[in-house]
Subunit: 315 residues, 2 copies
């Protein structure tokens, strides 16, 4: 039986490298695509001209398919879409917004559209909007997150049952075993973020990558739920958030405390105290910064090992 | 290769029926054991004489192994342990407390001891205390829960890597596919709660069972984190909790609002408005109340189907 996601994107492995702010520029996306995954440029942290530059560089660095991730709430979204169409990008992942707004325009221009959801209602909305596939992203994922807090283990089967579209699991996946686990739940493929955020080719600051490899099971938290829930590493900035909660800060005060540019400060500039360090719970399993090619072969190797292990279970 | 949990308990399938307050009396535990799982009597909602009665009835109803779950913070814990030793119970699952306190005494009396944990530190503590196996329970689980909020997908691999003991995954598991998924992560077996809470043999009130089958992906929430975090169905009582948070209620006020006996009121007496309806996120996948035997054969059948599906993946 042909894998729906491999067929849809014409890639070697059913693995998507998540489009992540401050991590996934052309270096990471092209490395992922060259290693047989689908690489995604994360446009959420890019001005339109920067996005344009990354697309051009990515085309030079790989002749394999790659795509762009666009957070739909991004202020420059019109310009981003314009660049994507002009550069003839064929694969777009949309997230954090209403899929109804842009899907038709993209599809009319021959773009394959995938939408990221964290609950069953948005999965339905995405399917109705005409997307080609869905990413089901659970509570354990890094960065911006849904408010229902459904974990990947519980979300994937619900969406699988409701939707007929090709399904990509995300959140908590950084190994061959978790890849196999989510495919057992009904996913056709997986989207991997944190593991690639800590790759050599990630454009994140080395200090941030190091803090990922030093994470433990107690390092991340989903917070700022009054604004947009975000999973991040607990640091001095998070302590300030906790203090704000203690004094019953208003939503407005939290917005001011968060301010602008904290993700860049932490993830790109390496300010581990004052930055917003977005990463998933799976960070606790990441012990070193490796090249993408090595990460991919580790995942595939473990996937095959677990596949044999599962086949050997007699029940 | 022999399954460690099947060997440890001398059972047919690597499935544990979770000991749950107000749900798992002798009827559920004996039905689960008779169907090839390990049945557990949930002593957390029982006075000592009631526990004694349930153990005696369970012995009459099955000649298969069964056990008792004891929350270690339970006020009558001394009497419960006394009954367990007197009745020569051979398997005890402990939870919600320090495993160091009772493990030695139980082990000295030939009892197999399993401890439930939600983080890696407690897993280490449990192993040092001499327990025979560990249950790793994720954020999606119903009822009382850990504060680290690690999901089953992220928790199981961490504990697997750290501990050498037989490992049971819990939280978000109610089907053959999720069973296979967590075994792919390294678990030797699974503990299933919610799916059995909604069985015919569960002693929960029919109205509560019905509310489980009517759950959606947005029905449960982990709340009251200032006291002991608990996952429950959002109802009128939960609205009161939300209102208390809005007016910045103190921990003491929350305790008063919760009061005593709300779990009994909701789960056993069927008061869906004022009761505390403890259940896991997996409830959204449960669409009917079935006999335990049927639930077990559904799970095993699906497990085998997914096993074939996984074997067919060529990567």
């Amino acid at each position: 039986m042909e894998n729906k996601i491999i067929k849809l994107f014409n890639i070697k492995y059913p693995i998507i490298q998540a489009g992540m702010i401050w991590c996934s520029g052309w270096e990471l996306a092209s490395a992922a695509s060259n290693a047989g995954a689908l690489g995604l440029i994360g446009s959420g942290s890019m001005y339109p001209d920067i996005l344009s530059h990354h697309i051009k560089k990515c085309k030079q660095a790989t002749n394999k398919p790659f795509g762009v991730n666009i957070p739909l709430l991004y202020p420059n979204i019109d310009q981003h879409i314009e660049i994507i169409l002009k550069e003839k990008i064929k694969i777009v992942f949309t997230s954090a917004g209403n899929p109804a707004t842009w899907t038709k325009i993209l599809k009319k221009n021959g773009v394959i559209v995938v939408h990221v959801v964290a609950n069953v209602n948005f999965a339905k909305k995405a399917e109705e909007s005409g997307v080609d596939a869905i990413v089901a992203e659970g509570f354990e994922a890094g960065g911006h997150n849904g408010i229902e807090e459904l974990t990947t283990l519980c979300l994937v089967p619900l969406i699988k049952k409701q939707n007929n579209l090709p399904l990509i699991a995300a959140g908590g996946i950084g190994s061959g075993s978790s890849m196999l686990a989510t495919m057992a739940l009904g996913a056709d493929a997986v989207q991997i973020g944190s593991r690639f955020a800590a790759s050599i080719e990630s454009s994140a600051h080395m200090s941030f990558k190091k803090s990922i490899t030093e994470s433990t099971g107690n390092s991340t938290v989903l917070t700022l739920k009054e604004l947009i829930p975000v999973r991040l590493i607990k640091n001095k900035f998070y302590e300030k958030v906790l203090n704000a909660y203690k004094r019953h800060a208003s939503k407005e005060e939290l917005k001011i405390l968060l301010g602008k540019g904290r993700a860049k400060k932490g993830m790109f500039e390496g300010d581990l105290d004052e930055g917003e360090l977005e990463i998933g719970q799976v960070a606790a399993q990441i012990k070193n910064v490796k090249p993408v090619k090595q990460i991919m072969s580790d995942i595939i190797k473990e996937f095959r090992e677990i596949q044999s292990h599962i086949a050997s279970i007699k029940i």
